[in-house]
Amino acid sequence: MTSSPFIPSYLPETPSQTAGPYVHIGLIPEQAGFEIFENNFSGDIAGPDVVGQRIIIEGRIFDGAGHVAKDVLVETWQANAAGRYNHPADMQNKTIDPNFRGWARTGTDFATGLYTIRTIKPGSVAGRKGRKAMAPHVNFWLASRGINIGLATRMYFGDEEAANSDDPVLNIIEQPERRKTLIAPRSERDGAVVYTFDIYLQGERETVFFDV
């Protein structure tokens, strides 16, 4: 490879490897069955001081044979209630919520396969330069045994029909039918607002995954 002050040589990215069946040890040790760290990351990021409407996001992850995948790491990344990411690259003129990082981590349950994220509903975020605002959404990232490289997708909110129909990302998905795989229906349970986001790794209802 030629290297000169005008033609920089880039370093190749480190290749991905599956997170394996024991991903919980490193990332959610309490699910693996032990306590080790004083401070643990979790799927409940709607602490008492966080601004916004409390919601639960839950769902199951299905493999290509329709089986529930019960060992998947689920991470989410989202804007705060005002629609701003807690990160220096987000320079929108909106309030930062100092109590809300916006990142959650959990695993699908070994018995039921259900994952649960307790968070707040994000606001709408500006789109790419020159594009219109994105509908409220939560970014998902999945890793597990059998997943060779982390899978990125987005969850949109079923009760944001107008914003969803204008969303620049949903609209670039060529087949309108496939856009629906990213939209989580809203329900209420015991006074809590629940969005159900089931993810299909493969098969007829395969979820849209992104190369970001």
């Binding site: 880039y10 190749p12 480190t14 040890i25 069955g33 290509g64 990160h87 790794l201």
Partner: protein, 241 residues
Amino acid sequence: MTPQAEFHQRDRDLHPPAHTPVYKTSVLRSPRIPLWSLQNSLSEVTGPIFSPDELGPLDNDLVLNYAKQGEAIGEQTIVHGYVLDGNGQPVSNTLVEVWQANAGGRYRHRNDTYIAPIDPNFGGCGRMLTDERGYYFFRTIKPGAYPFRNRINSWRPAHIHFSVFGTGFAQRLITQMYFEGDPLIPHDSIIATIPDKSAADRLTARLDLNASRPLECLAYRFDIVLRGRRQTLFENKLQGS
């Protein structure tokens, strides 16, 4: 630079594809419809930031961080290196998490039933933030090889799992590190998922005698490269932020 700098396109040829029959579990867990290419928005160029006060003082010492009545059993080993981006710039203050089997090849996990014994003084996980140069290090026990259900007689080479964040969620990476000279490496079905041999070889940490501690423990060097941002090489406001 623009603070919203997008990432270079991921070179998928350096990574394992989703569907790799040599690793059977991937067959039913691999999307078959091509990934939808998404140009970066704020959702991809941003990502979680962690602070040192979230971690404990022993979080990067796997020899001691679960010690109950004594130290973990096995070869004490230092693993260290730099997290860089594709532009060769250090990725500072980023969270690196590691997990592994114990010296006998057994994981402290409710689903692991391998015959090797659990070590009462070894948890098998650790975490640290890179410093301003992108440097990380941790002390651990060299993990053992173990069998897994893939083919009749499939064994994993000794390895340590790594999880790294970077400065944007699109850099998120989980991978595995192997040890130089491990005779199981050429037989491993997980490494075999990577079609590019030189890419796979970059997952093998090199023995680093200079970083070893005389009369105490050996060291291995493992550098990690995350995707770079489109930016001029000498500006990087995100670093240290």
